[in-house]
Amino acid sequence: MSKKMKQSLAFILSAAMMMSLAACGDNSAEETSGQSKTAEQSSTSVQASASSESVVPEVTYEPLGKYDELVTITFANMLRDGTVDENGDTVTDNAILDYLKDAMNIEIEREIEATDQKDYTTALSLAITAGEIPDVTVVYDYDQLVEMAEADLIYDLTDIVENYAGEASNALWDGYDFDVFAKTTFDGKIMALPRISNEAGTLVWIRQDWMDTLGISVDEDGDMLITREELEMVASEFVEKDPGNSGNPIGIALVCNSGNTSSYNINPVCGSFGAYPWSWIQKEDGSIVNGVTTPEMKEALAWWSDINAKGLVDPQYGITKTDDIKAMFVNGQTGITFGARNLCNWFFNETYTADENARFVTYGLDNGTGKATYRAQDSQTRYVVVSKDCEYPEVAMKLYNLVTEVQSGAFDNEEIAQAYPDFYEVYIKNTGNFTTYEPLNIAVTFGDAVTTRVNEVKAWQAGKLAKEDVTDSTALKYIGAIETMEAGTATPAERVRYDEYLGTKTWVELLDSGTFELQYLLNPATTEEIALYYADLKTLGEEMQIKIVTGEESVDYFDTFVEEWNKRGGQEIVDGLEDFYN
């Protein structure tokens, strides 16, 4: 049976059911449930018509069930570069995909491929414009999700979530004390499966081995926080003495952007002043403000301008891109940056390989009151959607189940090891590989997984927990790294892992001791005013940051900027948001 025929048969079947339901439909109160039932039944009938010529729908809900015959779905997600070391698997050819094919009869055919998020979003935009999206799509931009829902391009997943969500998926969702589907529900229908993770909180990363060589130390009181003065001192020592022997040391290398992320840019220091550039903050009186226009921002910029004058900021600030900073670390030019608790994992691995002494240490940045402030990031940043025309809408839930099951450790057993040795060796023993290479690429975090992980390692170190009893697979890897570090036989990858553990430990301890102070932010969808003015305002703001930090303009230029900001639509955006939220 051709795809066209299957599609039309499915359509006729569902239309017939729709009509029969409409015929026996009673009152309007039950209309919604009737509609969703239709969707559910038509999906099962689609399955039936696909699997055999007979049209007797058999309803079995298996979260990881195998299809009767090979199901090929078109798929869109960003591509990651690189390979898994062990056997050269790539994103498009790996044992996870083999597992999907063998164990679940699912084959993935990528339709949109891009390694850059902007490119990906643009490509997906074109697909939305054409009204033809792949069967399963991972959306990175919330506005795009809204657009797809409004355009009626995506499948109502309410019943699929109800019926097909596996144990681990439900456990993941229940582990959060808020409605995880709040952002993906439109008109009471769940239109997308969210990626959920709570890994926010930026740390300062410093070359430990350089500090040792130069004989400098920070954080005397051991509260895992360093002050801005200490940060400046380290940067100035690094610039003066050039411990990397690069001949061209750079104090703090920065990218200039107008996002509300806190990696490699001025934002973490701004946060320590209480400024959250490019985030919308609601004050107690209900008024809304963008962090980039607050007086705290001016103070932060003054600090940056000051240390730039002392020669501690990358002279190419504004031109430097993320990859350039990565290269500066590999070349031994710079030894300080800001990033997540596991930054070393993807940002410094080449540095560890290039310099066998390379070690990093992490600290929180003191905001002056003995605490480190950080923005509570939006916990949902990716959304899995299914095309309305997809013949197997439950396939997305099955892929999602696979991710949650593997991450919960359910796959770490003999059975899998026997049946799928390649898959087991590379991806189950190291779930980090799995989350990197599984097609959805949605690495979720179970509410307390990271804390559990660190606590297990600590218990093992204290001799209270035997290695065999450690349940978290990443904790086991940390333990392995600690052992090789102590034995002095650590490979670069193990040194990365070791520092990742230390970073994670710092993060968890800061979180547990209440030293991290959360700043809650608004995550508004794009309002009409934002669509109209925000891109221009971002350009304006980026230019302002450059001008003040590099000293081209004095700090007082900030006041001119705020005036300009309000004039050019900033005020209108705020008015619109205040109307919306109050």
């Binding site: 190419q316 504004g318 221009d536 350009t539």
Partner: protein
């Protein structure tokens, strides 16, 4: 040969007319191609007057009249954008013209054939490289720690931040663009020079004209029609200052002098999915381009008695 052809002329004419039909038919696929891919999509320009939402489609989106154009003209960066675009674009246009013409004249003086050919090939080559490839080369050359700056500092001159300085960036753009394109641009001028009747040169030489005088009075006048043609074509694109070059070389630091209409539209229009706004800007560019092209053509017709069409 001539004798044979003369009595046949009439007959040949008739046959030519019928056989020409086939030649015209051969144009058809090209015309259809242009119709489908260049004319029909122009209907999409209607988006400039709408608030286009992909979900609603071209026919379903809200009609907003000239709002997108108002947004463009009322933008306080608009004049900066136009200024940057024009400076970069006209700089490239004029200097490239002069360099390419001069190069063609000089190259024509080389009498050693193999040298002439190899120089020609070498200067054409950069044209075929994409800016995506060339941008890193430019960074290595002109970056703060690049080759040029090493030379400067070894001469005791202060380093110059070519890529990050508003004083140098436009010059860098124009310079690198001319380096890339002048060789390819000189092809047509070279062809024009070879078409000059050598008899004119001989006559001038006999009359005692120096090399300069011959270039000025014989070669250049012969090249005027082709120069006008190229100018008329190029001037139509004057509001496109070379997106791929600027996009690959610019940064926040040089928005002030390097941000052109196209990069602005890409950043604000396409990346933010403001399709209607992007369309409006492009339509504005096209109209200005058309007006300029027609004016150059008209002026040339009036004063030089020559025109493209």
């Amino acid at each position: 040969m001539k004798d044979k052809n003369v009595p046949r002329a009439k007959k040949a004419n008739v046959r030519n007319r019928t056989s020409q039909i086939y030649f015209h038919l051969m144009l058809l696929p090209g015309m259809i191609f242009i119709l489908i891919f260049n004319y029909i999509p122009m209907g999409g320009m209607v988006m400039a007057f709408e608030n286009f939402k992909p979900a609603k489609g071209i026919f379903g989106s809200d009609w907003v009249g000239f709002k997108q154009f108002e947004r463009l003209f009322s933008n306080s960066d608009f004049y900066e954008l136009i200024r940057n675009t024009l400076v970069i674009s006209l700089g490239k246009l004029v200097i490239k013209l002069v360099v390419a013409v001069a190069f063609a004249i000089l190259l024509n003086e080389i009498k050693t054939m193999w040298l002439k050919k190899s120089v020609q090939t070498i200067v054409y080559l950069p044209h075929f490289l994409s800016w995506v490839v060339l941008a890193p080369v430019v960074f290595y050359m002109f970056g703060i720690n690049g080759t040029v700056n090493s030379v400067l500092s070894s001469l005791g001159v202060d380093k110059i931040n070519f890529i990050g300085s508003n004083d140098y960036f436009q010059g860098l753009l124009i310079g690198t663009s001319i380096w890339k394109e002048f060789g390819y641009g000189s092809i047509v001028y070279l062809a024009a020079i070879t078409a000059v009747d050598p008899g004119l040169h001989e006559a001038a030489a006999i009359d005692g004209a120096s090399w300069w005088q011959r270039v000025w009075n014989v070669t250049l006048p012969a090249m005027v029609p082709i120069i006008i043609l190229m100018l008329a074509i190029d001037v139509g694109h004057v509001l496109s200052a070379g997106f791929d070059q600027v996009y690959n070389l610019y940064s926040v630091r040089v928005y002030e002098t390097g941000d052109i209409l196209d990069t602005y539209v890409y950043r604000v229009g396409l990346q933010q999915r403001q399709y209607s706004f992007a369309t409006a800007v492009d339509m504005f560019k096209s109209i200005i381009g058309l007006v300029l092209m027609l004016s150059v053509n008209g002026l040339s017709k009036k004063f030089l008695n020559r025109s493209v069409f």
